[in-house]
């Protein structure tokens, strides 16, 4: 560990933790001038009297993967769920500060939450397919949002979404089988397909691979990498290597505060904060 940290300090591109190689690819430098897709400013979040997010300010740029890391309970999920207002359904919660998506405040009274959630898709930590057929799972969002005009169009969109989620080849012959008959990894890709079907602009993923084996995890990671061409992706992960592999920007949370956010390379090799360094090198957390 210590060696690792030394290496990191020396600016050598060295992934933290294990013997894994350095992050495979160069992060795309976000143009600070360009408009962010999501701009969070001074976000405080309360569950009843407990403040679990404390003045979080963060810009998330389009067509990039932003990884949220930090120890358990630091507020990553809460932050993620405030981006599509999923926390609204938890009684007794309160939000302060602002979250702008494309410059529009999503907590403004005029905002239609249902429409917001269609634009900001979400994939959950534990895959949660509906107890319906594979086809119906993907078609669900299209149906409720009345996004297709004909049966053929619906079928086409379902197929395209399953392809985008790299699941089509495995399920093409059994689209009408129960979604619960799929393996865990397939179920998670089905949930991704389901989210993609309604053509969101942003995809929020809360530890999407935490319950999966290494091969299924790898498939999800490849998928995330491919999807960023079309979507803005925010992903929560506990796995440092995963963050290093898939993300362009990494944001480190600690006790409800955003300690540091920067290019992933930089966070893992030369973080500005001591706390970040201790965390990514595995000294705590």
């Amino acid at each position: 560990m210590l060696l690792n940290a030394e290496a990191a300090k020396a600016g050598q591109p060295r992934a933290p933790g294990a013997d894994s190689p350095a992050p495979a690819r160069e992060s795309v430098v976000p143009n600070p001038e360009s408009d962010p897709k999501i701009a969070v400013a001074g976000l405080n979040f309360y569950y009843g009297p407990n403040r679990v997010l404390d003045g979080v300010t963060l810009k998330i740029h389009p067509n990039q993967v932003t990884a949220l890391i930090g120890p358990s309970g630091c507020g990553k999920s809460t932050f993620l769920r405030s981006l599509n207002r999923m926390n609204d359904i938890v009684p007794g919660t309160r939000v302060e500060g602002s979250i702008l998506i494309d410059g529009q405040d999503i907590y403004a009274p005029s905002v239609d939450v249902v429409d917001l959630r269609r634009r900001v898709g979400m994939v959950f930590q534990k895959s949660n397919p509906f107890p319906k057929s594979i086809f119906e799972n993907v078609a669900y969002g299209l149906r409720i949002n009345r996004m297709t005009r004909s049966r053929e169009e619906l079928g086409g969109r379902v197929e395209a979404s399953l392809k985008a989620a790299a699941l089509w080849d495995e399920v093409r012959d059994r689209l009408h089988a129960s979604a619960l008959s799929l393996s865990g990894g397939q179920q998670q890709r089905l949930c991704i397909a389901r989210a993609l079907a309604v053509e969101p602009e942003i995809l929020l993923m809360d530890e999407p691979a935490s319950a999966l084996d290494p091969i299924a995890t790898q498939r999800i990671e490849e998928l995330v990498y491919q999807l960023k061409d079309r979507y803005t992706i925010v992903i929560v992960t506990h796995n440092m290597q995963q963050a290093a592999r898939v993300s362009d920007v990494t944001a480190f949370f600690w006790l409800g505060k955003l300690i540091e956010s920067d290019l992933t390379n930089k966070i893992f090799t030369a973080p500005a904060e001591k706390l970040t360094e201790d965390y990514v090198t595995g000294r705590f957390g």
């Binding site: 959630r117 269609r118 898709g121 949660n128 509906f130 107890p131 409720i144 989210a195």
Partner: protein, 281 residues
């Protein structure tokens, strides 16, 4: 005696007592089934299902009117109770923390405990007296009132068992709250709810008291909903109270048919649940 062998003995005794209690609990069921089947089977024949009751003193005859009557009454009861029961179950599970929900829950439990004869008298007051007419409709209403709390409570419990992540999944795709409940949460709980409905049916199919003042009885075959209608339970009650040995035999046969209906309902409920669950893999 060593310590361990004493503990083993105590444990064996305890298990023995448990087994004995189970046996004792099953004895009445076995006896009921034995008597109903052995007595009922003697008078059970095709005529019992196809013929009308014979006039006093004449042998033979059947309960065709009562069998159809019971089916009509339970169907009417379900038509009243299933939508109301399921919707109020949805309400109490969705708005579980509110005062109204607690009030509904309390009301349902109380209604469940109201003696069925009282429900019969109540329906007599609201659905028989004003029309000066006993009717199948009133009977169905009385049975429906008895089913509502059972269905409502079962629905609520089953909805609460559906993982919250399922609902969140629907909301995250842009579903409204109502849409999420009716298109995802409710279908997920459906097999259990069907079982609950069928068991409620089985329970009320055997009710006599609420029918005495509402559907009353009818010696003739009818399917008119605004007329008094016969039912197996009332017919069994009437026949069993009569002084004629032949009617007593008919009453046993009626009891057997009733028990069989309840039994079939339970089996159907199990099969339906298993089927639906198998469909989801």
């Amino acid at each position: 005696m060593s310590r361990t062998s004493r503990r083993k003995l105590l444990s064996a005794l305890f298990v023995g007592f448990c087994a004995l209690s189970v046996l004792l609990a099953l004895v009445p069921l076995a006896l009921i089934l034995f008597f109903v089947v052995s007595q009922g089977i003697q008078s059970l024949n095709v005529a019992f299902f196809t013929h009308m009751p014979a006039p006093v003193g004449e042998a033979g005859g059947g309960m065709a009117n009562a069998i159809v009557g019971t089916l009509i009454l339970t169907a009417l009861g379900s038509i009243f109770a299933v939508p109301i029961g399921i919707l109020s179950g949805v309400y109490t599970s969705e708005y579980g923390g509110t005062r109204l929900a607690s009030a509904i829950r309390f009301a349902a439990d109380t209604l469940n405990g109201v003696p069925s004869i009282v429900i019969g008298v109540f329906v007599y007051g609201i659905a028989v007296l004003p029309f000066k007419q006993f009717s199948a409709m009133a009977g169905g209403l009385a049975l429906g009132i008895m089913m509502i709390p059972i269905i409502a409570r079962t629905t609520e419990e089953l909805l609460l068992l559906v993982p919250g992540t399922m609902r969140e999944g629907a909301l995250a795709l842009g579903a409204t709250r109502a849409r999420a409940v009716f298109s995802v949460v409710l279908p997920a709980a459906l097999p259990g709810i069907i079982t609950g409905v069928v068991l409620a049916l089985a329970r009320i199919a055997g009710e006599t008291a609420p029918l005495l003042f509402t559907a009353f009885n009818n010696r003739f075959f009818t399917t008119k909903l605004n007329q008094p209608i016969a039912s197996l339970t009332v017919q069994v009650y009437t026949y069993a109270n009569s002084p004629y040995a032949d009617w007593h035999r008919q009453a046993w046969a009626g009891a057997l048919v009733l028990v069989s209906i309840v039994f079939l309902c339970s089996i159907f409920a199990r099969l339906a649940t298993r089927r639906l669950e198998a469909m989801r893999g």
